[in-house]
Structures are given as structure tokens and as C-alpha cells.
């Protein structure tokens, strides 16, 4: 007879051990899956987890790891602040899109100027775009008590339609022969979010992500705002007694996550993506929610989780093209990772007891 006994407080040991256990369990279960598909499971696991870091072409993949993880971390950091306080911004994808549109639009307005001020202006516009988009659900919540989960999520689809509209209208490349898509910002030095060290993958968005991690860490552990966020999440009543202003907190948390998502969008559109196009967004805003929880809403955890998820994406791609695995198998594998992480959580909050239930 096995039963679960709730721990008085989550176990510190298991909080750190479960992510590692989950990764190992995923490797085993994924290995079985890959074996059933007729590939060598060891080769697949090595291609996903080892080759991008230490394989023949690691010089390229390591940089790509940062490129892929950068926006995920940046968005997840913003989201985690709100999530900790019980404010659920699910619409980071929309804020990411609006940040990219506003940032790229602000830059393109000055085309073809070569002023060094253009990139900073774009960064500010990008952050403002994401912030403004997140203010809609925030103000609706504080003024009319609407549900921010629904409103922010629905605004993603609005943003996607705005994206489609500006790609084939307002921001369309006048030299693009009528095809949708803006000018390529990477081909315009003043607006390009270039790699700081070529080949390293380290562009300004990655730098911003690292700075965000550090600032978030300090805020949560040392600053009054961090205290208020944690208190509101853990005990809303106590927070009220501690004179936390819930309206201000909602506006701050939503605004912060929106601005960071907008920044991520701007850095992406000016860098790796290069242009506003109808299909510009590829789900970073949603994946970042997973990253935030994978990292247990802790800045350092998010940093590691973002890198881990980026690794499964990049390694997964390599496994597809090198070993001929279907993309569905890779998605299944990534799904397993999340499943095991959540499942293993049980060990952090509960103690396993063997044997009969004792008489008490």
C-alpha cells in the first residue's frame, strides 16, 4: 500500500531534484518511443541533448541556443512576476506581436536614415507597444473586474490580425513587388539587432534577457515590490493588511510582463526574424508560460528552463533532419518533459508512505 502524505511545506531537496528526475524520466520514456519508431534511442537522445552543446557543429548550435532561449527567458521573467502574485497574463504572444509591430514601425518611419538613435527609439517603442497591449486587460480588470486570462488571450488573436494587416498594408515593403512583409531590418544597419560578437548568438535581446533575470532576482529578494508580489500570491488577505494596493500591483505586473514581451518581439523582429511578416510570431509567448512554470517562477530557474527548452527545440530539429524522425515525435517528446515535470511535482509537496495506514 502506497499513499501520499502532504508535507507541511514543499521539500527543498525535491524542489531541486524533480526537474533532473523529470529530464531523466523523459529520456527513458522518449527512448522507448524512439525505439518503437525504429530508430536508435541512444543516438536520438544524444542528438537532442549532447550534439548541440558538444557535437561537431556546436560552434553554431550554442549561439542558436541563446537566440532561441533569449525571447523565452525575457517573456517568462515578466510573466513570472504576475504569476507569483496571482495575476494571469496569458496573452504574452499578443504583446510580443504588438511590440514587434510598434518597434519595427517606429524604426521604418525613419528609413533610410542611418542615425544611431534609431535602434534605441525602436527599443522604447517596442516596450511601449507590448506595455500598451497589456494595459487593455489590466485596466479592464481593475476598472470592471473582467477576467484578465480571457481578455489577454483573446487579444492575441486581435494582434495576429493586426499583424496580418500591417504586413500586407501599412508596413509592407514598397520594393516587395506586392508581396506581404516589411523591409528586412537586418539589411539596414541602423535598425539591425546584430550579434554583439559575431557567431556567438549573443544579440541585444539575449543581453536584455540576462539583465532581466538579474533585476528580477534582486526585485524579488530585496525590493519592496518583490515582497508585495510574493505576499499577494501567498496570502491576499495578509497583503491587504500590509497595505498592498491590489490595483497598482495588477497594473505594474501586467505592464511589466507586457513591456518585456514587447521587447522580446522587437529584438526578434530586428534580429533573427528580420522582418514583420504574416507568420512572424511562432508561439514564444505561449511557450514562455511553460518556461515560467518549468523554472518554478524563480528567475534563475527560468534562465535554466529557457535554455533547456531551447535545447529540446534545437536538438529536436537536428534529430528530425539527421535521423528522419517525424516532427510529431519530437513534439511528443517535449510534451513528455512537461508532463513528467508536473507529475514529479508531487514529490515536492507530498511524502510517499509505504505500508498500511497506521491507527492513530
Amino acid at each position: 500500500m502506497v499513499r501520499l502524505e502532504q508535507r507541511p511545506s514543499p521539500s527543498a531537496f525535491w524542489t531541486y531534484a524533480t526537474p533532473i528526475l523529470a529530464v531523466l524520466a523523459t529520456m527513458v520514456a522518449g527512448g522507448v518511443l524512439f525505439a518503437l519508431l525504429g530508430t536508435n534511442p541512444v543516438a536520438v537522445i544524444r542528438t537532442i541533448f549532447w550534439d548541440p552543446l558538444f557535437g561537431e557543429f556546436a560552434f553554431y548550435y550554442r549561439g542558436q541556443l541563446l537566440v532561441k532561449a533569449g525571447p523565452l527567458i525575457l517573456i517568462a521573467i515578466g510573466l513570472s512576476m504576475g504569476f507569483r502574485a496571482g495575476i494571469w497574463n496569458i496573452g504574452a504572444e499578443g504583446q510580443y506581436i504588438m511590440g514587434a509591430i510598434c518597434g519595427a514601425g517606429a524604426g521604418l518611419a525613419f528609413y533610410p536614415s542611418e542615425s544611431f538613435l534609431i535602434f534605441p527609439v525602436m527599443i522604447i517603442a517596442g516596450a511601449l507597444g507590448g506595455w500598451a497591449w497589456s494595459m487593455i486587460p489590466a485596466i479592464l480588470k481593475t476598472r470592471f473586474g473582467t477576467n484578465e486570462i480571457l481578455v489577454s488571450l483573446m487579444l492575441v488573436y486581435v494582434a495576429e490580425n493586426i499583424l496580418a494587416s500591417v504586413s500586407s498594408g501599412l508596413l509592407r515593403n514598397p520594393e516587395g513587388q506586392g508581396f506581404p512583409g516589411s523591409r528586412n531590418l537586418r539589411n539596414w544597419d541602423a535598425a539591425a539587432n546584430t550579434e554583439i560578437i559575431t557567431g556567438s548568438g549573443m544579440h541585444w535581446g539575449v543581453v536584455a534577457a540576462f539583465i532581466a533575470v538579474i533585476l528580477a532576482y534582486i526585485t524579488l529578494s530585496r525590493h519592496m515590490l518583490g515582497f508585495q508580489i510574493r505576499l499577494t500570491g501567498e496570502s491576499p488577505r495578509a497583503a491587504r493588511f500590509a497595505s498592498v494596493n491590489p490595483t497598482a500591483l495588477i497594473l505594474i505586473c501586467m505592464g511589466l510582463s507586457g513591456a518585456l514581451a514587447g521587447l522580446a518581439g522587437l529584438f526578434e523582429v530586428a534580429g533573427p526574424a528580420g522582418q514583420i511578416s504574416i507568420d512572424f510570431n511562432s508561439g514564444y509567448g505561449f511557450t514562455a508560460i511553460i518556461v515560467a512554470f518549468l523554472g518554478r517562477l524563480n528567475p534563475i530557474g527560468i534562465l535554466l528552463a529557457g535554455l533547456l527548452l531551447a535545447l529540446t527545440y534545437i536538438g529536436g530539429e537536428a534529430a528530425q533532419s539527421n535521423l528522419g524522425l517525424p516532427s510529431a515525435a519530437i513534439q511528443l517528446f517535449q510534451g513528455m518533459l512537461l508532463f513528467f515535470l508536473l507529475a514529479m511535482d508531487v514529490f515536492a509537496n507530498f511524502r510517499l508512505r509505504f505500508g498500511r495506514v497506521g491507527v492513530s
Binding site: E56, F57, F59, Y60, Q64, V67, K68, E160, A164, S165, S168, G169, Q177, G178, F179, P180, G181, N184, R186, I197, T198, G199, E268, P272, A273, G274, Q275, S277, I278, D279, F280, S282, I314, E317, A318, Q320, S321, N322, G324, P326, S327, A328
Partner: protein
Amino acid sequence: MKLTKLLATAAMTLGLATGAFADGHEKTKVGFVYVGPIGDGGWTFEHNEGRLAVEEAFGDKVETIYQENVPEGADAERVMTQMALGGADLIFTTSFGYMDPTINVAAKFPNVKFEHATGYKRADNVSTYSARFYEGRAVQGHIAGKMTKTNVIGYIASFPIPEVIRGINAAYIHAQKVNPDVEFKIIWAYTWFDPAKEADAAKALIEQGADVILQHTDSTAPQAAAEQAGGVVTFGQASDMAEYAPFPRVSSIIDNWAPYYVARTQAVMDGTWESVDTWDGIPTGMVKIGEITDAVPAEVKAEALGMVEAMRTGAYHPFTGPLKKQDGSDWLAEGEVADDGTLAGMAFYVEGLTGEIPQ
């Protein structure tokens, strides 16, 4: 800054050189980047058939690799780089949205040949290729105009790019020619492949009275929706979609990439590969019309086959004047044929179509 960039590019090229030539070029490695899953039954399915044809034609002399579901954007660039680093000699990038990524990656790997489908940017090592799908659309339009009873034809469009607009125009011109009362209702799905969205679009069009559905998206979901609704005619898109024949699918446009892929792979093997812009249609077999089923009246079928034959011999061009633009201005005079430049960048509707092209 400039120097580090130069050095890095050199290092990258060096990395490529060792990658591509390490195996002594025993096998020619051909990569394919797909926008949808190979099981989509449409666009990507046919590109993958082309890949299989390459394998069959060259056997041991060739190795093919592919990746499906690659988003159009930053991820595509990484996938292509991955293939080039892995020693690919020739890479086919099979969706419009891969245009800039293809050009960017090609610049870093001057020794690798790239082939981009449906785009307009070329380089010394980047060719473009596309098919004159509008020839097939003309045939569909003819059959659709004859088959509709409600005079409402639904059109599931993907993105407002010239290729799609050309298809709408070609279909409308020929539907309207045989049925002056015909009306087109167009839904922009903003996707190439999304079964749920496509099914929704088909249902919405059927509710608005459409009894013929044309699609420029790649899944079979609209076919299923039409079958469920009953009495609605559809056409296979990109692939034959024969599992829905003889009804609702009464015919189809089939993209036949196999001969092109085999020829281009051969050119790389022979060292004769050059950057070209290919735009072929029914005459070379790049566009095929799938079997017209018995659900279509015999005389309509005969007319349709006559059109196909006339296009094959070059006797007929689907865009032959007199034609006017939607705003009533003249486009083509009596007997005048549209030039390829205008067709390639087509961003206007012909007279009679309602609504606006999304801006």
C-alpha cells in the same frame, strides 16, 4: 566590428567546406524544408513525393533529408543552416515565407545550391521555381461555373500574395464566362495548413449559400466539411485528394514537382547547376489536372479537357483579353495575353469580383 564579421564569415565558410567535403562526395545530399507535415495530403505531401522520386531515380548515389512543420521566419534559417552544415549539396525550401531566410543562409554557404519555391529573390546559388497553378484554376473555374446551382462559389484563400490572387482571378474569369450570374465569396484564412481553420471557413461559406468550394489551402478538411454538408462540390488542391472522389471532389490540381527535383539534382551531380527562374505549367507537366469524375456532366468534362489540351499546346492562355480590372479600368485588349511580369506581381482583382484584397 567589420574585421570580426569577416573572420567569422571565413570561419563559417571553412566549417562548411569541411562539412560538405568530409565524406568525399560519395553521395549527393539533398535537403527539403517543408512548411506543413508530409501527411497533409496537399502541398507538402506533393513536395515529399518529389523527394521520394529523387531517391528512386538515383538510388545509392543520393541521400535525402527533410524537415517538416518548419515555421516561416527565424526558425527556417536555423533549419537550413543545420542542413548546410550537415553537408547538404542542394536544399529545396518549399514555401514563400522562406524567401529571406534562404537568401541569408545561401550567402553564408556559397558552395551549397538552394532552390526556393514561389519566391522572387535569386542569387548565384539560389534558384526559384514555381508552377502556373492558375492554368488549373481556369479549368476549376469552368467546371465550378457550370456545376453551381446557387451561383455562389466559395473560395478559401490563404495569404493575399500574387499567386493566390492570380488563382482567384483565373477561376473567376472562367466561371463567369460560362455563368454570368456567378458570385465569388472569399475567405482569407491566413494559413497554408490549419485543418480546423480551413474546416471553419468551408462551413461558413456553405452557410452563406456556396455549393462549390475552391481552396488554396493544403489540407483535406474543406473536403470533409463539404462531404458532411452534402451536395457541395470541391476540388483537390496541390494533391489529388482522391479519397474524396468521385464526390464531393470532382477534380483537382496536382503539383508535380518530381521531374524538376530529379533534373535539378542531376544538374548538381553533373556540375551544371545554374541559378534560374522556372515557371512551368500544364505543358511540361508541372501542373496536372486530376481525374474529372462522373459527377461532372459529360459535356462539361469534355469542355474542361478541351481547355487542358489547348493550354498544353499553348493555343490558349487563361488571361486573354478583353479583360478589365475590378475598378473598371482596361487591362487587356481583345486577344491580348497577360505578360509574365504582370502575372508574377498581380495585386488586383479582375472586374466582377467583389470585396477588397486585404491590405
